[in-house]
């Protein structure tokens, strides 16, 4: 209530009104400042210096202060400030080091009042005393701050920062004599205006230049500073040593910072580079901005709250040559878009899940894995009454315990390790992966691989065994069936079957390589026999629909639905090139072979129009003959990938994506791909499958992903003697001046690969050790240990 009344008095009885609006300036702005009546704003830049009236619906240009025919450098403004006591008085800082004052009361067209040319370099900032009419302060690149009395022609006093360029100067609002200045070297100094000889206090606030500072309008001791190190810090200056109260980490260097009126913990920031938005932060909540204004298309250079007692209007000027008025209620609030859920795995597979209470309550009924495995424990967080974000703060935490064994992800690890993703022709990759999946009892996945192979690798080489797989699917025991001939005989003995599987798989690939036409013929026979045995419904024509059904029908498969599925891979040394040019040549070859194949199987030609429900066998035939372009299926394949991803099996989605490469990549949007990749990589790393994850990163075609491998590739080592990190070089310790890793064989420093025995910890150059151990089984250092090298 008290506040309200204050606002109204300050506004002279009428509250501010207005809309979010913007107007185009002719040139980029460098700074803006508001008149104390909150109805006018001045915009200054290299080639603009104008006053705009802020009206209900729009900005109206009121005055152009840039007069004269020849633009003078004195008018190239780096900063501008409007006196908060006298609405006729303005001051600008020019890039050539001149400080100019302007008197709007002058009758002539040229309102320029005084010119101070005392600074030798660009003046970065000017600041009027908040309560004294004639005192002006300036800070310049030359490292000096000067205090001017506007009634005199020269500066009254000069303050030397004794360090580098001054970036900002601000009079304290409460302490009559105090001002703060910030420097390019990261320091902040506090001065008493009466004592130009030395500063009252100095401390290092940031790493790198401190671009801006702002005194809290109410809290007398608080100073906010923003720097190139992307931080905003709030300091309490009342204590003996400046104390850091809050720290906000932004995403780009902070160019301006302004406390929000009437909101004790809010401040607005904009950045100098890269990021164009204006953020309003609650300093107690330093990770998510409370509000965000996204109107500008280029960096925002100046921000100002329209009225010192009204928290809802923010004005901003930008390099994109626009002046904006932002309304707080129109701001976008990242918090709302943020995921208010948190999810974390414990060491033993326990899962903790925090979400809004309401969400948990409604959801609990339909969690797929709810049922027996779930033992939720609820915690409720005590609410802090001062906490402004009450709505979001009430959350529930559920913990799900893992039943021993139930969450085993060994299939994931196995698949990830054994899948082959590149380095071989597509057909082989598919076969291999299908085999892997089959051996792990994941028939559906295996089937998918087989299908892919058929779709993308034209004729000839589709082995029968794969086809038969679709039959296996149907069996309730979920066992992989290799061959229809075996189907009946073998359905009892699990073990033997699997073994058989393997051997079949192997021989099959051999034959394929040897003579494709020969296999073809046998295949054909098999297919036919098979076809007669198999109920057509089980054959997967429509990948998506059918599979889904299978999942639903078959409770045994339920475990496969758990959120993490993953990839298959084998640790092949892969080259980048392969990624970009997927096995194109083989493809051609296959095609070349197809003519004679199709000749022998002319009957299938009629099946060309592909329907979701046709049988598997016909698919293969159709492919052989009419050679449907693989593109034909890509939509289907994409749907299939999405299906897997949604099922939680990113492993499959990503593996297929990699294996198929160019063939499907373009049909799935970049973001989705990126999302899959990141999820999969995350999973792999969780399982310590570093090699695999690295391979995936390498093979990924998404730029954002392949960048992952290019960042933080440094490994730091500690000295083996003094245990200090060896920061500069990896082989000599700066501290104890000893070489850390000597080769036990040649007694030289090892700068590259260092291999050592885990038994006696002696080691050396890989080559040397290998050689040594060929001839001797003892440690080369002579310690007597029997080292082994494998």
């Amino acid at each position: 209530m008290e506040k309200m009344s204050r606002v109204t008095t300050a506004l002279g009885g009428s509250a501010l009104t207005g809309h979010t609006m913007h107007c185009h300036l002719d040139a980029p702005a460098n700074a803006i400042s508001v008149c104390r009546d909150a109805a006018q704003v001045v915009v200054a830049g290299r080639s603009i210096f104008k006053i705009y009236a802020i009206e209900e619906e729009q900005f109206v240009e009121k005055l152009n202060l840039r007069v004269g025919r020849k633009p003078s450098l004195n008018l190239s403004c780096a900063d501008v400030v409007w006196h908060q006591m006298d609405e006729n008085l303005l001051a600008t800082a020019a890039t050539n080091g001149v400080v100019v004052t302007w008197n709007l009361g002058r009758p002539s067209r040229n309102k320029q009042d005084q010119l101070f040319t005392e600074h030798k370099r660009t003046v970065n900032k000017v600041c009027f005393h908040p309560s004294e009419a004639h005192v002006l302060l300036s800070g310049s690149q030359d490292g000096f701050m000067k205090c001017f009395d506007l009634r005199k022609k020269d500066s009254v006093s000069t303050f030397s920062g004794q360090s580098e360029s001054v970036r900002d100067v601000q009079f304290s609002i409460r302490d009559y004599f105090t001002f703060a200045s910030t420097f390019e070297n990261g320091n902040v100094q506090l001065w008493d205006i009466r004592r130009p000889d030395r500063c009252e206090r100095m401390f290092t606030a940031h790493n790198g230049p401190v671009f801006c500072c702002d005194w809290h309008p109410d809290d007398r001791g608080w100073l906010a500073t923003g720097g190139r190190d992307k931080m905003v810090k709030v300091w309490d200056m009342t204590t003996h040593r400046a104390k850091e109260m809050h720290c906000v980490q932004t995403i780009a260097s902070v160019a301006r910072v302004k406390w929000r009126p009437e909101c004790r913990h809010h401040l607005a920031t904009c950045s100098m580079m890269v990021d164009h938005n204006i953020y309003v932060w609650d300093v107690r909540r330093p990770f998510v901005p409370a509000a965000m204004f996204e109107e500008h298309r280029d960096v925002t250079t100046g921000i100002a709250w329209r009225h010192p007692h009204d928290p809802s209007f923010l004005l901003s000027g930008s390099k994109d040559s626009t002046l904006c008025q932002h309304l707080f209620r129109d701001a976008s609030q990242p918090v709302e878009r943020a995921n208010p859920e948190g999810l974390c795995y414990g060491l033993f597979g326990d899962l903790a899940f925090a979400a809004k209470e309401s969400l948990v309550a409604t959801d609990s009924g339909r969690k797929p894995y709810a049922g027996d495995r779930r033992h939720p424990i609820f915690f409720k967080r005590k609410l802090d009454p001062a906490e402004p974000f009450t709505g979001l703060a009430s959350s529930a935490l559920s913990v799900f315990e893992m039943e021993p064994g139930s969450g085993s992800m060994s299939w994931f690890v196995d698949t990830a390790e054994r899948y082959a993703l590149a380095g071989r022709p597509l057909a082989e990759l598919c076969d291999h992966n299908a085999k892997v999946a089959r051996e792990l009892g994941r028939n559906q996945v295996a089937q998918t691989w087989t299908m892919l192979r058929m779709i993308y690798c034209s004729p000839g080489v589709v082995p029968t065994t794969n086809l038969n797989h679709s039959v296996g699917k149907g069996s309730s025991c979920g066992l992989p069936l290799m061959n229809s001939f075996n189907l009946k005989d073998m359905s009892q003995g699990l073990g033997s079957e699997t073994r058989l599987d393997r051997s079949k798989g192997d021989t099959r690939s051999d034959t394929v390589l040897l003579d494709s036409s020969a296999t073809l013929i046998t295949n054909e026979d098999n297919e036919e026999t098979e076809g007669s045995d198999v109920p057509a419904d089980y054959l997967l024509g429509d990948v998506e629909g059918e599979e889904e059904e299978l999942y639903l029908l078959d409770p045994e498969h339920a475990h496969t639905e758990e959120p993490e599925y993953v990839l298959p891979q084998e640790a092949f040394p892969l080259r980048h090139e392969i990624v970009d040019t997927p096995p194109g040549p083989e493809h051609l070859q296959d095609k070349a072979e197809s003519p004679h194949v199709s000749g022998s199987e002319a009957d299938a030609a009629s099946l060309a129009p592909v329907d979701a429900s046709f049988s598997l066998i016909s698919v293969s035939h159709a492919l052989y003959d009419s050679r449907l372009p693989p593109d034909f299926f890509s939509a289907l394949v994409c749907d299939m990938l999405r299906f897997y991803a949604e099922q939680g099996d990113v492993q499959m989605a990503v593996s297929v994506l990699i294996v198929l490469g160019e063939r499907v990549r373009k049909d799935i949007d970049e973001q989705t791909q990126e999302h899959w990749y990141t999820s999969y990589i995350d999973l792999l790393q969780r399982f310590c499958l570093w090699n695999v994850s690295n391979q995936v990163v390498k093979l990924s075609t998404s730029r954002a992903i392949s960048c992952l491998n290019q960042a933080s590739t440094t490994l730091h080592v500690n000295c083996s003697h003094c245990k200090r990190p060896m920061s500069s070089r990896g082989w000599v310790c700066d501290r104890c001046h000893r070489c850390a890793s000597m080769c036990a064989v040649c007694h030289h420093v090892v700068k590259g690969l260092f291999v050592w025995c885990q038994g006696c910890s002696h080691g050396g150059h890989l080559q040397h050790i290998m050689k040594w151990l060929e001839g001797s089984s003892h440690c080369p250092a002579g310690c007597g240990h029997l080292c082994e090298y494998s």
């Binding site: 890269v274 280029d298 960048c707």
Partner: protein
């Protein structure tokens, strides 16, 4: 040390200027005498450098720590005259060649080779050919640009512009590199490449500017090394200390006796310092002064000795050029005066609108972490480096002089500081020095010992090296600013 005698092979170490060549053609029996200095630099007497070196353990320590080749090369030796600077130089160079970064090691060296080739700097090329092979580069690439992947080849355009006319770089160039399907560069990679290019262009300036000699004991030739050549003709070097001969000092300062020359300079500095307070130039005058300075640099012709002859005159003899040219395309593309581009305004780059400290740093550091800090430190170091001496005088504030040098280089690349009075440049930098600066920054391969000798006769060699350091860093910063500005524009 072991001078090679006057065997023909040793003679190949130096280029022959047209005059000498004519003489040689006429009379085959004349042997070219070998240059006298065999220290790290052809310009600086060996003892000057070596003296300083033996004292300096620190240099050795630094070399051990940061050198990629593991030896004290000539550049380092000459730079060790300024040990403070040397550390930040080596550290940043080591970082961009060997540490965490988006580009594979061999690529980094190949980019260095491409950059050095723009200025036909065989010294740097040889150095990096070795390193390239050592880090596992594919030897085939060294046959020339046709043999490298398209991706690296695409860098050629930006290399060319950056080296000679950085103001022409636009966001379209960046776009072309970043968005070309399979051969695209990621932004971090591009920034890394740009930093390398700028670094090696600038370093080439230093190599020529300080007359760095070829390394004495090239490791076993791998077939890709170029014949180590200095671009100075022996006759040029033989004219040692030929002060009177300096045809270039023909303007007002030239006649002043060399000792009073120094005093005159100091006098002018003092006067400028005082003048500041009372006389203030009008705006228009300031603008014209900048323009005058850029324009005047037009007439500062750098051609000296044989280089001023039309190309055809010595084309057949320019073996090195053809050797080097396999790493570049469009070898004819060179520096063109910023002011000349007749059609008036390609706008000057306003330094205040895109500064290294505010903008360049943030961008570089964002895309290629930590290099920003290292470069920042290096720029600061070179800008603030001073011993408060000038030749024989002590306790002199040389800030003005340093700033004039720095800004003059930027001025030639069209970068203008609002808060600088370009009249100062005229006052402080004599004509022969301007010639030298322009040559070193814009056409380093044409630098001659005569140019090096013709300015500041009283100054110590270490001070001239200091000048070279300033020129090098100013040039690097200018290139970076243009490239980074284009990237920023591409991003927005």
């Amino acid at each position: 040390m072991n001078r090679g005698g006057s065997s023909p092979s040793a003679a190949a170490n130096y280029l022959l200027c047209t005059n000498c060549r004519k003489v040689l053609r006429k009379d085959k029996r004349i042997r070219v005498s070998q240059p006298l200095t065999r220290g790290p630099s052809a310009f600086i007497p060996e003892k000057e450098v070596v003296q300083a070196n033996t004292v300096d353990e620190r240099t050795n320590f630094l070399v051990e720590e940061y050198s990629t080749s593991g030896r004290l090369d000539n550049i380092t030796q000459v730079m060790s005259l300024h040990a403070q600077y040397l550390e930040s130089f080596l550290r940043s160079q080591f970082y961009m060649l060997r540490m965490d970064g988006p580009l594979p090691l061999p690529h980094r060296h190949y980019i260095a080779i491409m950059a050095a080739a723009r200025h036909q700097c065989s010294y740097l090329i040889n150095m990096h050919v070795d390193e390239f092979l050592k880090t596992g580069g594919i030897a085939e690439w060294l046959n020339g640009l046709e043999y490298v992947p398209q991706r690296l080849k695409n860098l050629n355009e930006i290399n060319k512009l950056l080296a000679h006319r950085p103001w022409l770089i636009t966001k379209e160039h960046i776009q072309k590199l970043v968005k070309t399907g399979e051969n695209n560069w990621s932004l971090p990679e591009l920034v890394h490449a740009v930093v390398l290019l700028a670094h090696y262009h600038a370093l080439a300036s230093f190599v020529f500017g300080s007359g760095i000699n070829p390394e004495r004991d090239p490791e076993i030739s791998n077939g890709f090394r170029l014949i180590s050549v200095n671009n100075f003709c022996v006759c040029d070097l033989a004219n040692d200390n030929n002060i009177e001969n300096a045809s270039l000092t023909g303007n007002s300062f030239g006649i002043v006796g060399s000792l009073s020359e120094l005093e005159a300079l100091m006098e002018r500095m003092k006067r400028l310092q005082e003048e500041r307070e009372d006389e203030e130039a009008s705006q228009e005058e300031m603008t014209t002064r900048f323009e005058k300075e850029t324009k005047e640099s037009l007439f500062v012709v750098s051609g000296d000795t044989f280089h001023s002859f039309p190309h055809s005159d010595f084309e057949d003899d320019m073996i090195i050029t053809s050797d080097v040219s396999r790493y570049i395309e469009d070898p004819g593309f060179g520096y063109e005066d910023f002011a000349r581009r007749g059609e008036e305004h390609l706008p000057t780059f306003r330094a205040q609108d895109y500064t290294w400290e505010n903008h360049g740093f943030s961008l570089v550091n964002r895309l290629y972490s930590d290099i920003g800090h290292l470069l920042d430190e290096k720029f600061r170091m070179v800008y603030n480096l001073t011993y408060n001496t000038m030749a024989t005088h002590e306790d002199v504030d040389t800030t003005m002089l340093r700033r004039a040098l720095f800004n003059y280089v930027h001025c030639m690349f069209g970068i203008r500081y609002d808060d600088y009075d370009y009249g100062e440049v005229n006052q402080l930098l004599e004509r022969s020095l301007k010639v030298y600066i322009k040559t070193v920054t814009c056409y380093p391969e044409r630098t001659t010992k005569r140019m090096y000798d013709s300015y500041w006769h009283q100054f110590k060699h270490s001070e001239k090296v200091h000048v070279n350091l300033l020129l090098m860093e100013a040039r690097m910063q200018a290139e970076l600013l243009y490239a980074l500005r284009a990237i920023t524009r591409y991003l927005t």
